[in-house]
């Protein structure tokens, strides 16, 4: 469901490598910025918060969920976008668990819709087989294929 939607709505991005985790966060927001769901300032707020609080958005090794508070400034819709980095980026050089190659960027202005999104995301992130395959995706068609296989 969610993976298919990400592919069909063009809310996904496949990138070889980035210079820094900051660049990764800006890029991960781009599909939603292009749709007008996020302002560019949203990425900067995430970056500021990670600098203050640490890389808590890397929720399991390899996977980041960049997000701000609900109804944060710069968010105009409830949505998720996906980004895959071919080369993982490090958020903390001293902790290899805090590297990420998969990004699910979250935007929320509607609690109920957001909860629905998060339930789907939770189901995906707690499925180790799906997660292992997700680490290998290269194009939107791969997302659709995984959606059909797992969801």
């Amino acid at each position: 469901m969610l993976l298919r939607e990400l592919a069909e709505k063009n809310r996904c991005k496949f990138v070889d490598s980035v210079e820094s985790w900051e660049e990764a966060i800006r890029k991960s927001c781009e599909p939603l910025v292009a749709e007008g769901i996020l302002d560019e300032s949203y990425a900067e707020e995430i970056i500021d918060t990670v600098k203050r609080m640490g890389p808590y958005i890397v929720i399991v090794p390899g996977v980041a969920i960049p997000h701000c508070m609900e109804n944060a400034g710069g968010a105009h819709g409830t949505a998720i976008s996906f980004m895959k980095l071919e080369t993982p980026v490090s958020f903390d050089d001293e902790d290899p668990d805090k590297s990420a190659s998969i990004f699910f960027t979250l935007s929320s202005v509607n609690t109920q819709e957001h909860l629905k999104n998060m339930k789907q995301l939770f189901k995906m992130l707690t499925n180790e087989d799906l997660l292992a395959e997700l680490m290998q995706v290269k194009c939107p068609e791969d997302l659709i294929r995984l959606d059909e296989k797992y969801m």
Partner: protein
């Protein structure tokens, strides 16, 4: 009966994930949970003492020093999606037994 709080930085992403993990484990361990609330660390800091158990990522546990001193059980999690970790910590701390239905 236990009232649970899950808290992370924004109260919108990670804390929701943690809430789903905790809900799953509470069911598995047959705990008598009357309420699970998720919120931001800042909100949690001022309301923590109204709860029996507070969950937060391990790296933020220092923010709940006051609550711990006042007798609230605060559980820090390395992996907020790991039901196995939540389960293990609730059992080892005796909380699973204390709040069993």
């Amino acid at each position: 009966m236990a009232k649970l709080l899950v808290a992370c930085v924004n109260g919108a992403g990670t804390s929701l994930m943690m809430k789903m993990t905790v809900e799953k484990v509470a069911k598995e361990l047959n705990l008598n949970v009357t309420k699970i609330h998720h919120c931001s660390l800042a909100e949690g800091k001022s309301t923590a003492t109204q709860y029996d158990i507070v969950f937060c990522p391990q790296s933020f546990i220092h923010m709940y020093k006051d609550a711990i001193e006042k007798g609230v059980d605060v559980v820090g999690l390395r992996n907020v999606l790991s039901a196995a970790e939540v389960k293990q910590k609730l059992i080892e701390s005796g909380l699973a037994e204390k709040y069993k239905k």
